[in-house]
């Protein structure tokens, strides 16, 4: 019979201990965690970046990823977007009664593998069990260090800067929606840690003014927020925004717009105009960046305005995502 999580796993007693050792510690395995102290004591730096994120995705496993990979990528990428070097993660798991232990093992294994890829250690954790119907939720807090003179921030875009994205838009969102709605497609989630890409850009001395991972709300929402933060006008070229034909068809079918759909392994970068070409080459040669493109520019214009030049020569003024991005009906 399949092993499932029950309330006893949340008791704090023997069953909890066994679960933690068997499922979590075995995978995360590092000196700090192995001490099993009440808090992890780690080496630091003078400027610390901290972020936290909770992952509640359904289904827990999806095409191209799972909640374990996702909860590392999401948090690590948030650190990277401030120019931080990700160092440590925590793992707070909330398990519903009835959760499959095998599935939990798979996602925790995936979490550990992704953490290794991203070069971070998972040094602290917690597990709780609640009533429910087999759900798995994970919160990760990430800690990184920021070199002394590094200043990458959402308000730093300057007129003349160039806007790039590291790849195709909407893949993660489309993958999750297709699973939820039982639509046959092989669209894969793009969940990926972007450390190598960001590291390559910074190592090459690219003047990176702003980085933002293009997650919930999609590209338009993210860029609208950045335009407002910088007090500049952003102008995008519709035809330059990369979207795979499959995602485009999927969106067409459901009435969704790829520029309002989330990714979990794509970033938008705003860089000095003179560095744009180099930046594009570097991203394209980095892992997860082969479809990168220059999609627009920063202008003085009307502060906070985001406008897209459409393929047929029209202009479309864009705002943040409204509502939930539900598929339309016909």
């Amino acid at each position: 019979m399949e092993k499932v999580i029950s309330m006893v796993h949340g008791s704090g007693g023997q069953a909890t201990g066994e679960l933690i050792h068997e499922v979590f510690a075995a995978e995360f395995d590092n000196e700090t965690l192995d001490l099993m102290e009440d808090s992890a004591v780690v080496k630091g730096g003078s400027r610390i970046a901290i972020t936290t994120d909770s992952f509640v995705v359904t289904p827990v496993e999806f095409k191209g990823g799972d909640i374990g990979r996702l909860c590392v990528c999401g948090t690590v990428n948030d650190l990277l977007m401030r120019g931080a070097e990700p160092k440590y993660l925590t793992c707070g798991a909330i398990l519903e009664e009835g959760a499959s232990v095998d599935q939990l093992k798979r996602v925790i294994h995936s979490m550990a593998e992704t953490a290794r890829e991203a070069g971070v250690q998972i040094v602290a954790g917690d597990t709780k069990v609640i009533e429910g119907s087999g759900g798995i939720y994970i919160n990760t807090t990430g800690v990184g260090t920021v070199p002394k003179d590094r200043d990458i921030s959402s308000g730093n875009a300057e007129a003349g800067d160039v806007i790039l994205v590291s790849g195709t838009m909407g893949d993660h969102h489309a993958a999750i929606l297709s699973e939820r709605m039982n639509i046959e497609t092989d669209i894969q989630s793009d969940n990926a840690p972007l450390g190598e890409m960001v590291g390559n850009l910074l190592a090459a001395g690219i003047r990176v003014h702003t980085l933002r991972d293009v997650t919930r709300g999609g590209l338009a929402t993210v860029l609208k927020e950045l335009a407002e933060a910088a007090g500049k006008q952003f102008v995008l070229e519709e035809e330059a925004v990369p979207v795979t034909p499959k995602v485009r068809d999927f969106c067409g079918m459901l009435g969704l717009d790829p520029i309002y759909m989330g990714n979990e392994g794509k970033l938008a970068a705003i860089v000095d105009r003179e560095d744009a070409e180099n930046a594009l080459e570097i991203i394209r040669h980095s892992r997860y960046g082969k479809d990168a493109a220059v999609i627009g520019r920063v202008e003085d214009g009307e502060p906070g305005r985001l406008v897209m030049k459409t393929g047929i020569g029209g202009e479309r003024v864009l705002g943040v995502l409204q509502g939930e991005g539900l598929p339309r009906i016909c």
Binding site: Q322, I329, C330
Partner: protein, 349 residues
């Protein structure tokens, strides 16, 4: 052959009499905004959004009935996404009562009901079957499958509408329209022949249009040149024919019959919808007689917007009380609703 550049140049520099063009398809409304088409046109050419978004034209009594069914134990409401947030005669919607324990499932195709219903034979699955001619064949196919597989626990609450009759209704009731962009997807099923009598009677040109920017511009150009002439021109010949899809029409006619149905804001329009035939009434969750239509907010101008008598931006609630997060009328809910697309694309003309 006219080039795209020539078409754009003509439409931009047009300075003849003012022209109101109505698109009667929600997907056209969305595509027009996404392509930034209003900015390509002369200020003398106005694009109005008609009653072409199925969610927008569903009367409040339908939503009320759906909410009532959702609260009955043992019922599961199955719907397409858009309908979740449409208010009935009160601001309450499906999404909110879902939070209070009602079971509401979202699917992509009506046929997705079949495995759901088979898995839980003790539940009654009620499909919120809204739509136009485009979607009706899928519901007919569902009934076909239910009969074949002897599935007893699925019912439909229908709000099925037909386009030609409502367009006729608009023309007969003084909607200020000089030309129509005829709905591309609907025409695939119906063929464009059904618009010809209306075009002739009111001397209004119809252009059947596709959904790409170029296709829309070509159709707009075509009908601007035909204003005053009662002609139907097919600018979407790759998929639309004069007679339409006979097999789909036959399937619809097998299970559904023509009926007088209510449209949000427009009232009951003669012969403008479909209801399940009497012999299939066992599949009907109570769709007949849903004609009451009350505004959740009395100041809501959805009716005037749907008739082309008012721009969304002229409604006093637009963008203030009524937003996609707090929709007061159905046109602000659907991603194809005229108010939603005007607001989210910052459209002003």
């Amino acid at each position: 052959m006219v080039t795209l550049e020539e078409i754009k140049e003509y439409l931009k520099s047009y300075d003849g009499p003012e022209i109101n063009i109505m698109e009667v398809c929600g997907s056209h409304t969305a595509a027009i905004a996404k392509n930034g088409i209003p900015g390509i046109l002369s200020p003398w050419i106005h694009l109005l959004s008609g009653p072409g978004c199925p969610v927008c034209v569903t009367p409040s009594s339908y939503v009320d009935k759906l909410l009532e069914l959702a609260m009955e134990p043992g019922n599961v409401i199955v719907t397409f996404g858009d309908l979740l947030r449409v208010p009935g005669s009160t601001p309450v919607n499906l999404s909110q009562i879902k939070g209070k324990g009602a079971r509401v499932e979202m699917v992509y195709s009506p046929l997705d009901m079949v495995p759901l219903a088979k898995n839980e034979p003790d539940k009654t699955f009620i499909f919120a079957a809204v739509g136009f001619e485009t979607t009706t064949p899928a519901y007919a196919l569902l009934i076909d499958t239910l009969i074949r597989d002897q599935i007893q626990n699925v019912k439909l609450l229908t709000a099925l509408k037909t386009m030609p009759e409502v367009i006729d209704h608009l023309c007969a009731n003084g909607a200020p329209i000089d030309a129509f962009l005829a709905p591309g997807h609907v025409s695939v099923i119906t063929g464009y022949e059904c618009f010809e009598p209306i075009a002739r009677q009111y001397r209004i040109p119809f252009g059947v249009a596709g959904f790409k920017g170029q296709e829309l511009l070509a159709a707009i150009y075509g009908i601007v040149k035909l204003v005053g002439q009662g002609r139907v021109v097919n600018f979407y010949p790759s998929v639309v024919s004069r007679q339409g899809n006979a097999a789909a029409q036959k399937l619809i006619d097998q299970y559904f019959e023509r009926a007088d149905v209510a449209w949000r804001g427009l009232g009951v329009v003669k012969g403008s919808g479909k209801l399940l035939k009497d012999e299939y009434s066992r599949f009907d969750a109570g769709s007949r007689g849903l004609v009451e239509d009350h505004k959740a907010n009395r100041a809501c101008c959805c009716d005037k917007v749907l008739m082309g008598k008012m721009k969304p931006t002229e409604c006093p609630l637009f963008g203030k009380v009524c937003t996609p997060m707090t929709p007061q009328g159905a046109c602000m809910v659907s991603t194809e609703g005229s108010c939603f697309t005007w607001l989210t694309n910052h459209r002003t003309q």
